[in-house]
Structure formats: structure tokens, C-alpha cells
């Protein structure tokens, strides 16, 4: 090459400034875009964290409970059924009245009882069921406080606003203060939240039912969509002959991946519930519906992973006498597996966050019992969040945020697994 003549180099020098400036601007745009996204993410996460953090702790009230024989089993039958059905609420009320003997009026007693959760009776019932010798004894027991008392103790209900506008009245505040002074009020890690199913009492509501429901649903989804998706992709990518028919299939699979999820819910309602008469609200049906939704994602991911395996591998295998099926099963598929698994996990985490299609098949429901199998009525994490967000009780606000945190944690774990798998096993050619 000859040296550039002076006029060209002058032109270049002249334009250099503006080209550098454009370069800088472009970089700045990129940084701004990323910064904006990060700011949104931080604001979102910190607001959820700030709201939901409180739900991991729970206010408890210590009371001296008299396990009176007269209340639990007046006829001394010793029958487990009688003991299980006894009026444990009365034990709580008696203990409260013994603690605050000056409270006499019915209305006042009701206000006093409202400080302790309605679920406290289950706690006492379980204690007696575990140890029948408790009957007749007196024990100090830490009982769960009611949602309102809990909210007050956590500062979510302000003390200095007019009494009429408060869920907790002045008398109740005085009682809580008295309990606090005598050391009968404490905040503890909220085990209930991670071990129970849904409840209408916010302090009793837990996420475990939804976690089990989500797990059952995802297992069904995985069992169905993974083998189906991988087989379909292997056939389309490795074994089929390219013609109009496979092109048509390909277009349809890509379309299927873009269909709004609620459509799959409608399909589930029409086919699985109305025609096949599968049970409503069951993780089985939820799993099938989500499998249909995940299936195209897995096909697309699998095909991409198969394409990334270099043709030389296939040719070498064929050259050594392997049959087409052997080429795929012994060589191509194992090499493509990290990519396939990554795609599957990403598809599954999308299924985990899905609630719209489940609405149609009855999984948006109030379910207290923890599901025992794929045929039991169940709900899933995002649905639980939706139901709590719609509940009037103040204490459900923090439960909603806390459940969102749990869902986010699961999503992060799943996506991190996908990243690790890829890092660890992916081969680069």
C-alpha cells in the first residue's frame, strides 16, 4: 500500500474527533441503559425485602396455661377423639383472664382474646396430644400473637394515630405494654411460615403447602416435557429429512413457544378436566398444562445444543461403523447434554413462576392441607402470592412480600444451577 495522500489523512484527522465522540456517546448509552436496569432491580428488590423481612419473625405471647381436666376431658374418658375436639380456645381465654383479672365485660374479653392468634388452640391441642399427662398441669406456653398484635409489635400500626382509625385500641395497647414489661412478649423466627399451609389468619399462614404444590407440579412437568422435548428435538435435528413437512413443524413449534400461557390453561380445562375428567386443582393437571408450555422451549434449546456439536464427531462415529441411533445416543446427545439441561432448567423456572394457566384448572384456591400426591388439591407459589396480595388483613402485606422472596430465591437457585452446569460441563470447540 502506498502512503495516503495528505488530503485524505487531513480528512480523517478532521473527522477523528467526532468519531471518537460518537464512540464515547455510544459507550455512555450502554452504561446508562445498564445502570437504569440495575436501579430498577435494586429498587424492586429492596422494597420487597423491606416489606417482607418482617414476615420471617413472629410475635409470641407467654401465658400460664392451666390444662384443666374440666375443659379438656370432663368425663375423664381418656379418649383421643374427645381430647382432640376439646375447647382449647377456652384454655387461652381463661389464661388471659387470669393474667388480666380486672377485665370482666364480654366485649372487653373479646378484645383481650383478639391479642392471641385463633390458631393458638391448635398449638395447645398438639401439646396435649403429644403428652396427655399435661392434663391437669399448668405450664407457661409461648403462644402466637394475632396478626394485629403482631403488626403493632412490629411497628406497622402506629401508636400515635387516633384510636378509632387503629385496628388495635388503647386498652389492647395497654395490655400489650403490660405483657412486654413482664417479659411475656417476644419476637422469634417464624417457623410457622415455612411449615404450614394457607390460612385466613395471617399469623398462621404458611408457604409450605405452596412449595410442595409447586414441587409436585414441576416434577410432573419435568417427567412429561423433558423426554418428549428431547426426543422431538433429536428427531427433527438428527434423524429427519429436511422437507416441507419438517419446516412446517418447525414454524409451529416456534409459534407454540410464543403462545400466551393462559391459552394452555384453557386447553387444560377443555381437554383434561372436561373430557378426561382428571381431578380439579390437582398438580397432575397443572403439571401437564405447564409441560405443554415448557415443551417448545425445551425443543428449541435442545436443537440449539445439538447444532453446537461439531459435525466431525458425527462423521467420526459413522466412520467407525456406528448406526445413526448410536451416533446420537453415544456421542451427540451426551455432548449436547449441558446445553439441553440449561434450556430445561430455564423452561422449568418459567413454569415455576406461572400462574395464569392454573387459574383455569382450579389451582387458584384456598387450600389448607399440605398436598400428599399429584392428585391432591394444591396451589403453587405464584398463586399463593396472588391470593395473599388480595387479602384485606394488613398482616398479609408482609406475607405477600415474603412469599415473593421465597419464589425469587427458588428462581435464583434454579438459574444458578443452569449457569454452573454450563460452566462445568460445556465443551468448547
Amino acid at each position: 500500500m502506498t502512503a495516503p495522500n495528505t488530503s485524505t489523512s487531513a480528512l480523517i484527522t478532521a473527522s477523528l474527533r467526532s468519531r471518537h465522540a460518537a464512540e464515547k456517546r455510544f459507550r455512555a448509552y450502554g452504561i446508562i441503559a445498564i445502570a437504569t436496569a440495575l436501579v430498577f432491580l435494586v429498587v424492586l428488590l429492596s422494597s420487597i425485602l423491606a416489606k417482607g423481612y418482617g414476615a420471617f419473625f413472629q410475635t409470641q405471647i407467654s401465658l400460664s396455661i392451666v390444662f384443666s381436666q374440666d375443659v379438656i376431658d370432663p368425663k375423664k374418658t381418656g379418649d383421643g377423639q374427645v381430647i382432640a375436639r376439646a375447647n382449647y380456645q377456652k384454655l387461652v381465654r381463661n389464661a388471659l383472664q387470669a393474667r388480666f383479672p380486672h377485665v370482666k365485660k364480654r366485649r372487653e374479653i373479646k378484645k383481650l382474646s383478639a391479642l392471641v392468634s385463633r390458631g393458638a388452640r391448635r398449638q395447645l391441642q398438639a401439646m396435649v396430644a403429644n403428652d396427655p399427662s399435661l392434663i391437669g398441669a399448668t405450664r407457661r406456653v409461648w403462644l402466637t400473637a394475632s396478626g394485629d398484635a403482631d403488626m403493632f409489635n412490629k411497628g406497622a400500626i402506629a401508636r400515635d394515630i387516633p384510636e378509632k382509625t387503629r385496628r388495635i385500641n388503647d386498652r389492647q395497647i395497654a395490655w400489650l405494654d403490660a405483657l412486654e414489661e413482664s417479659g411475656a412478649l417476644r419476637k422469634r423466627f417464624n417457623v410457622t411460615f415455612f411449615t404450614t399451609g394457607d390460612s385466613r389468619e395471617p399469623e398462621q399462614a404458611g408457604i409450605w403447602g405452596a412449595i410442595v404444590g409447586s414441587a409436585l407440579t414441576l416434577v410432573v412437568t419435568l417427567i412429561l416435557s423433558f423426554p418428549l422435548g428431547v426426543t422431538a428435538a433429536v428427531y427433527l435435528e438428527e434423524l429427519s429429512v429436511k422437507n416441507r413437512w419438517t419446516d412446517f413443524l418447525e414454524v409451529n413449534i416456534n409459534n407454540m413457544a410464543a403462545v400466551p400461557s393462559i391459552i394452555y390453561g384453557l386447553l387444560g380445562l377443555a381437554v383434561f378436566l372436561n373430557v378426561m375428567h382428571l381431578p380439579r386443582s390437582a398438580p397432575l393437571v397443572g403439571g401437564i398444562v405447564l409441560a405443554l408450555m415448557t415443551f417448545p422451549t425445551i425443543i428449541i434449546a435442545t436443537r440449539a445444543a445439538l447444532k453446537a456439536v461439531p459435525p466431525s464427531i458425527r462423521e467420526a462415529a459413522r466412520g467407525l461403523g456406528a448406526s445413526p441411533v448410536q451416533v446420537v445416543l453415544h456421542h451427540v446427545l451426551p455432548l449436547a447434554m449441558p446445553g439441553i439441561l440449561t434450556g430445561t432448567i430455564i423452561g422449568m423456572s418459567r413454569a415455576l413462576g406461572e400462574s395464569a394457566p392454573l387459574l383455569m384448572i382450579g389451582m387458584v384456591a384456598f387450600i389448607v392441607d399440605i398436598p400428599q400426591g399429584p392428585f391432591d388439591p394444591a396451589t403453587v407459589l405464584p398463586v399463593q402470592i396472588y391470593l395473599w396480595a388480595d387479602s384485606p388483613e394488613r398482616a398479609f402485606v408482609e406475607k405477600t412480600a415474603a412469599a415473593t422472596l421465597v419464589l425469587l430465591a427458588f428462581l435464583v437457585i434454579m438459574n444458578a444451577t443452569a449457569v454452573i452446569l454450563r460452566r462445568k460441563f460445556e465443551k468448547r470447540w
Partner: protein, 357 residues
């Protein structure tokens, strides 16, 4: 291949599975009754040996559709409703063999128009609400001539109202609360114009369209079905009003205040007495053919209508349900215990059931 085998085996397994027997009550229906129904279901699960019922929130209309689809374990046993069952729904039920239904009225729900505590409490009449929110309003006192809603500020309607822009956050058309609000508040205000009232007899359809249509110029903002969200938005926007159920006002008295309607505050006692004009009855319906087949239905109805639940100091009133008067409630409890069914249903009730709408 092994995988294909497992796969086809699972699929065949699904196909061959028979409809299962059920030992758990299934409830569907109104999202307004949902919080009460679930509270009863939970209590029922704790205090009896039966399993806790599954309660789905499908909306009143959706619930009726599922409820009326047939008899058998695949269909729900109870449906909740924030309005009375319609004639068309009774007919649909009968067509599918669901002829024996018990109706139980459980109480009232007030619909409130509320704003942030940062603003002064407002006082509306039904007519103000209609003029503020309707799509078309009468141009004069008689109501003979109509014009598209010209009002921008509440004070344009009546100088006594706040001088702020009309901005109301409320439920979308799919909501039962919206239906009830249109029927009780808008139609209530609409009727105060003699010209429009006369129209009701002549042309019911035009009358309904006129009285139930909400303006679409941005003054009424559809805020979704989530009432908590409306409360949050009111907190940040002191000039706006929100439309939602009484239980949300009850739980958020430290953030919002209910406006007076026709001079009556939306308080527990006023709604129970029937003084507060924007209140509706809540019901649930039981499929009598399932009683004795699905265990625990009678016990569930008994729990729902018990003093412990529905009484003046019952746990449902804590959840914001406004109870019936004592005599009314006793009557409901008795009727429910007898599972008073169809005969009474067809003769005395079917006559006054609302038409399709």
C-alpha cells in the same frame, strides 16, 4: 427405548384413570364471599373430623357456571354469590339435573367510596355519584335531555363537594363489586331524575344502559380486582377516591376514610341497619344432591350459619362481614339446617329472581 416406554406408560396411565371419589367439600364462587367462606372452611377443618374444604375464587358468575354444570364428584358442592342466583342460572342448573338447591343468605357487604385521610372527609348523595361517574348525564332537572358527562371537578356538580378533579379508582367490569356499585349507587342516583325513572317502564334496556354506564374519559380509572392496590394508590394520591368493599375500609382505617353517602357514614352499624344505601346481600348455594354423598356438607352449613361464625360477635364479623339481624339469621339457620329446597324455591322464589342481565 426405555424413555419412550416410560413416557407412553405414563400417558396411558393418565388416560385410564377413573374419576376419583371425593371426601373433601369443594366450594367455588364470588371473590367477595371468598374471605368469609375460607374462614369458615378453616374453622370447619380445625373443629371437625372432616377435611378442610377447598375454596376457589372464580367470581359469582363463574361459580354458578361450574356449580350448575352437573351432579357428581367432579362438580362443586357449594357456590358463593355476591348477588342472588339469576333465573337463567336456575334454568341452566335444571337443564343439567341440578334441581335441588338450598339458598342461604349470610349477611351484607357495603361498597364504600373512600379517600385518603390527608384530605377532608367528603359527603356525597347518590345523585352526585351518578353525575360524577356516568357516561351520559341529564342536561336539566327533568332528565329528558342527555349530554355526555361535562363535569371535570366534583365542585362543578355541587359547590358543597370538594373542588378537586374527579378521579375515582374502582374495579373493572368483570367484578361483582362493579356490578353492585353500578346497580346500587349509579342507578340509585340515576333514578332521582323523574324523566329517567319514567323511562324504566317504557324501555328497560335503554334505562339500564344509561344508568349503568361508567364514563370512559379517564375520570374513572379501572384499578384491577386488587382492592389493596386501590388503598395504596389512594394513600399516594390525596385527591382521588376509591371504590371497594367495606372489609378493606375496615382493615385500613388508619389510611383511608369512607365518604358519607346520602348523609350516612359507611360504618358497621349503619350497613347492618340498612341505612347505608350502597350495600348488597351475600349468599351461598348448596347442591342438595351431594348432601350425604360428600361427607360433611351439613356440618359445613351448620358451621357457616352458627352463632360462632355469623353472630354479632362471630369471627366473620371480625373479617368484615356485616351480619343479618338476629331474627333473620335465626330464620336462615333454621332453613339451612332443614336444607329447605326446591319446592319453596320454585314457587315463592323463582318469581322474584332477577332476570338475565
Amino acid at each position: 427405548m426405555k424413555k419412550t416406554f416410560i413416557l407412553s406408560a405414563t400417558l396411558v396411565g393418565f388416560m385410564a384413570m377413573p374419576a376419583q371419589a371425593r371426601d373433601q367439600i369443594r366450594i367455588v364462587g364470588s371473590s367477595t364471599v371468598f374471605p368469609f367462606s375460607t374462614a369458615v372452611a378453616e374453622e370447619f377443618g380445625i373443629t371437625t373430623s372432616f377435611r378442610t374444604p377447598v375454596v376457589e375464587s372464580t367470581g359469582t358468575g363463574g361459580g354458578m357456571k361450574l356449580f350448575c354444570a352437573g351432579i357428581g364428584t367432579g362438580h362443586p358442592d357449594v357456590t358463593n354469590a355476591s348477588r342472588r342466583i339469576k333465573k337463567s342460572e336456575v334454568e341452566n342448573c335444571a337443564k343439567n339435573g341440578v334441581t335441588n338447591i338450598t339458598e342461604v343468605k349470610i349477611g351484607f357487604d357495603g361498597i364504600v367510596l373512600a379517600n385518603s385521610l390527608k384530605s377532608p372527609r367528603a359527603s356525597f348523595t347518590l345523585r352526585h355519584i351518578f353525575l360524577g361517574l356516568a357516561k351520559q348525564v341529564p342536561a336539566d332537572e327533568t332528565g329528558a335531555r342527555l349530554q355526555p358527562n361535562p363535569y371535570k371537578k366534583w365542585s362543578d356538580i355541587d359547590p358543597s363537594l370538594p373542588g378537586v378533579k374527579i378521579e375515582v379508582l374502582g374495579p373493572p367490569p368483570t367484578s361483582g363489586t362493579r356490578d353492585a356499585f353500578a346497580e346500587l349507587a349509579l342507578e340509585g342516583g340515576c333514578k332521582t331524575f323523574p324523566g329517567i325513572k319514567a323511562l324504566k317502564k317504557k324501555d328497560k334496556r335503554t334505562y339500564r344502559a344509561l344508568c349503568h354506564s361508567i364514563r370512559e374519559d379517564g375520570a374513572y380509572v379501572e384499578a384491577g380486582e386488587n382492592d389493596n392496590l386501590i388503598v395504596q394508590k389512594l394513600e399516594s394520591n390525596a385527591a382521588a377516591f376509591g371504590v371497594f368493599g367495606f372489609s378493606f375500609l375496615d382493615q385500613n382505617q388508619d389510611k383511608v376514610q369512607g365518604s358519607l353517602v346520602n348523609g350516612v357514614t359507611p360504618e358497621f352499624e349503619n350497613i347492618a341497619d340498612g341505612k347505608y344505601p350502597v350495600a348488597r346481600s351475600l349468599y351461598f348455594y348448596v347442591k342438595n344432591a351431594h348432601v350425604g354423598i360428600i361427607p360433611g356438607i351439613e356440618a359445613f352449613v351448620a358451621e357457616f350459619t352458627s352463632d360462632n361464625a355469623l353472630g354479632e360477635y362471630g369471627y366473620l364479623t371480625d373479617k368484615g362481614l356485616i351480619p343479618l339481624s338476629d331474627e333473620d339469621r335465626k330464620q336462615q339457620t333454621e332453613d339451612a339446617a332443614k336444607m329447605a329446597p326446591l319446592s319453596m324455591w320454585e314457587s315463592s322464589l323463582a318469581g322474584n329472581l332477577p332476570e338475565n342481565g
